[in-house]
Subunit: 288 residues, 2 copies
């Protein structure tokens, strides 16, 4: 193509020198919320001794935020697999045009815990769909395609070890994570606008998840894992390793609703970012 | 429940008097982009002679924007079915707690056209999935559930008639709309980060869609139609009619990429809003 417009990022190969702007990127950190990832990027900027007045590099697209600090790109991905899949396609193309060679992708999320206390960090060992299979399913030209969704076990171990060094004895577990395509019905919540199952059916499903080693539910893990794997290993765009670290906001075996006081909520929302900051420090990713 | 926190809207039954704040709502207008729906809400405020400095009523949730002008609520829903499904669950609960009786839901979208020129308004007659069936599929407790996704034919006709009164002879068609769970591979684009089909396979799929009366592809229509239908008809939360009006940004039979100059892009993005404004005027929805 003469020009490639990364439409949702608002970045075009005609007007942006990708190699110059993004050639040094080694880490891509993504989160659902634009506010949360902005706060994370500002924390990185402060750590690097830079201004925290960071420009949104994806402002022209009108859909995502994108910040760069040192060798780190930070972006929001919205909620759900379709939204993160758009970000990933365009992020992979950005890194490809920038001639990046090896890149670590980390999703920093919030999630509903299964059998763990609110405020627990879950480092994902396996990304499952809501039938507890490790696939990202999409339909291409009308036909279902199931893509394997592996994550990097070494990076998960590294994050787990680093989490032991966080202050205040933050609880941390390694566990399986389920990707749902909805917050209410697909996550077996009874408190949506409608619900067509009983409390005992809900508990049977969640207990089954728990017995299989599931520690949390969120809405992007299979897509994130599968598309990173495909970009790195099969499409060989560049070498990719990927990890997911989420904090739990509720123990779903006890409640459907998130009931945290604002102070606790503000504190625990930052935990994935604090862990990833420790990783970035270790790898000198913030030096400019 | 003693308290119901609409988590992503950041509105709780403990701190918000839903009946007082939202009891007069008759129209809910939603769009993917926060910027676009804000511009729409500001246009409504101007029309109603109100300040355009509208507060985001969902600011505490940190995920969506929500504005109220007269009898109209306007919100963004992000990209994809999982994201809009969250907004709809919480919007239905909001309207239920507000004791609203009959409510018209309209999605104002952007889309990729099939066989129509960029800048065409498409009023959806039927919402299809990427296998061209009119269902919203979700997986509840691990089992697939297929929900019918009908839209209101009278409201579609009313919008179509009103569209004839828009200035500059805006092209408008009634047609079927396909909901994809991704922007690239599921919409048969060749220009994603990776692609596992050929140009001729792509064209065969798009031509099949065209021959079945499909006018455009977007990413929310089946979920929007099915959940509105379920809320209104089956769950009987309140009486709901729903419609979708999207503008096309590209003719997918000619290009995968959106190639519009900024001026044209800015103009045609506003067309769904201008049409819905005409509807709201007709129904006196903006008087305070």
């Amino acid at each position: 193509m003469e020009e490639d417009l990364l439409y949702h990022l608002g970045l075009s190969t005609k007007s942006v020198n990708f190699r110059k702007e993004f050639g040094d990127v080694k880490f891509v950190c993504v989160a659902g919320s634009a506010y949360r990832i902005k706060a994370f990027a500002q924390m990185l900027a402060k750590e690097a001794g830079l201004s925290t007045d960071l420009p949104n590099l994806a402002a022209d697209g009108g859909r995502f935020v994108l910040y760069k600090v040192g060798a780190v790109l930070a972006a929001d991905h919205g909620m759900g697999a379709p939204s993160i899949s758009i970000l990933l396609h365009e992020m992979f193309k950005l890194l490809h045009y920038a001639h990046c060679t090896d890149v670590t992708f980390i999703r920093l999320g919030t999630s509903g815990g299964i059998g763990v206390e609110p405020g627990t960090l879950v480092i994902t060992t396996e990304a499952l769909d809501t039938a507890f299979e490790s696939f990202y399913s999409l339909r291409i030209l009308g036909k279902t395609v199931k893509r394997p969704a592996p994550l990097d076990p070494n990076l998960a171990d590294e994050l787990y070890e680093l989490a032991q060094t966080l202050p205040d004895n933050v609880p941390v577990v390694k566990g399986k994570t389920v990707c749902a395509n909805d917050f209410y019905e697909e996550q077996a919540r009874l408190d949506g606008a409608f619900c067509q199952f009983t409390e005992s059916e809900k508990m049977a499903y969640l207990n089954q998840a728990c017995s299989m080693g599931v520690s949390n539910f969120e809405m992007e893990c299979t897509c994130f894992a599968a598309q990173c794997y495909l970009a790195g290993v099969r499409a060989s765009l560049f070498y990719v390793v990927a990890a997911i670290v989420c904090v739990t906001l509720v123990n779903r075996l006890e409640s459907d609703q998130v009931r945290l006081n604002p102070k606790t909520y503000a504190r625990i929302q930052q935990l994935p970012g604090q862990l990833v900051l420790a990783l970035l420090r270790k790898h000198n990713a913030l030096s400019v």
